[in-house]
Amino acid sequence: MRRTRFHGPDPAGRRGRLALGLSGAALAIFLTATPALACGGLIGPNGAVNLLRTTTFAGYHDGVEHYVTAFQFAGGGGQFGSITPLPGIPTSVVKGGDWTLQRLIRETNPIFAEAAPAASSADRLGAVELMNVKIDALDITVLKGGANDIGQWATAHGFRLPADAPEVLDFYAKRSQIFLAAAFDADAAKARGQQVGDGTPVHITIPTANPWVPLRILGLGKTAAEPVQADVYLLTDHAPALLPAPTGSNGIRLDASESASDGLLTDLRSDRGMDWIPQSGWLTKVAVDGTAGQLDYDLAVDASGAGRPSAVAAGLALPSDPPVQTPVDMSRLLIALAFVGVGLVGVGLIGSSRAGTRPAGS
């Protein structure tokens, strides 16, 4: 497959060209709006959200997952938001680099494709706010809590959660109780001079031994038959093992799996906050192209080379329950003690009997 390549050290020109590449790429997981504030291109009067194609980058190196996604301004006014489940507590949430996502799209797209308000720190509802960050017109809050805690926090902060949110939040909270809520103020974006299509990249750094990429959340608010499309780029030290395996028929497809080129790594490393990019790596592109009903899982990644991606991380199995402390059954205990007692008596009798038959002086 021919791939478009990005050449040249000119970041300004690069950004201009890459803007074309961004036209198919967009933000993550928009789901809600405050009824009072809902308006504009993304939010319909019934709370429906017009999703654009999502592009996400998950890099994993030295036990740290770097998750880069972009929130794209699609015009209109008011506020809307998203909730993203995370595999662990981030150490930082900062503005992402300007061209990382676009550069990744260039790396894997065939040539014919190219032609074409700050949250309160008070925890009144059970969810704990671990971090509050403002990036451009985005108010980002990292939350810790169970499904009900997160749902109630979101509702109290003006998010209008769709009907499937309780089940989906529960799906994630059973594995990781860390969520990232982002509220996007379209009026503020307009005031900042952001144009329709401008993206605000966000770079989340998460130390974790168990990286995964949330996919099920992409279907939030959609009916089972509605399409979900997204591009997920992975950069790992070794060729990763993925679960579920992208077969195409299961809603995810492997579009690229190759050693990352020096040019790509150099370009990515030169972007803001991307100096962690290693000297070598493996690039994988997984295209999500299915229906919301198909996406009842996440993408588990084993980047260690061991080839054992976690079924729990993929949402295909529940974390093992803690050992159950069963109450002691006294009758069984007494029977067991009786057997032990009989055994000890027996051993004692055998011993004394042998002692009695032991030859004198031996």
Binding site: N148, G151, Q152, T155, A163, D164, P166
Partner: protein
């Protein structure tokens, strides 16, 4: 045994039997008490999603919303539901057949159905009906 003694014993036995079976004076007051039917909302679904109640007897529905989002319980015929699908009332509660249940809360409503019918109970918040928040209420004669 004299007749009077047999009568006393008979009343005594009847009293014990009545006390044991709960019939008697209590039965009169219980007959007017509403039938209580609990409904749980979990993951945006009703449980149970099929209920049968008798004609002419008061029924108290105790609706518990375990979800972190708001829901509705609106019972009625097809025409009523069609109106609600395009309705704009943000909150219900003015009618006993139209109840809003805020997140993580419980609401009670008592209804006496006058005639046999088959109705539906539906949550008309956006997307909830499509997600499966639909139940069937059968009002059976002779209850």
């Amino acid at each position: 045994m004299s007749t009077g003694r047999r009568t006393v014993l008979g009343f005594g036995f009847a009293a014990i039997l009545a006390a044991a079976t709960g019939i008697g004076a209590n039965a009169v007051s219980h007959a007017d008490d509403p039938i209580v039917i609990p409904i749980t909302i979990h993951w945006s679904h009703y449980d149970p999603d099929r209920i049968t109640v008798p004609v002419g007897k008061p029924v108290t529905f105790v609706i518990t919303n375990t979800d972190p989002i708001d829901h509705e319980w609106i019972v009625g015929d097809a025409a009523l539901h069609e109106r609600h699908r395009t309705g704009t009332e943000p909150v219900h509660n003015a009618r006993p057949t139209e109840i809003s249940i805020p997140a993580r809360s419980e609401r009670r409503t008592t209804i006496t159905f006058a005639a046999a019918d088959t109705l539906q109970y539906i949550c008309h918040l956006p997307g909830h009906e499509a997600y499966g928040m639909v139940g069937v209420l059968t009002i059976a004669p002779g209850g």
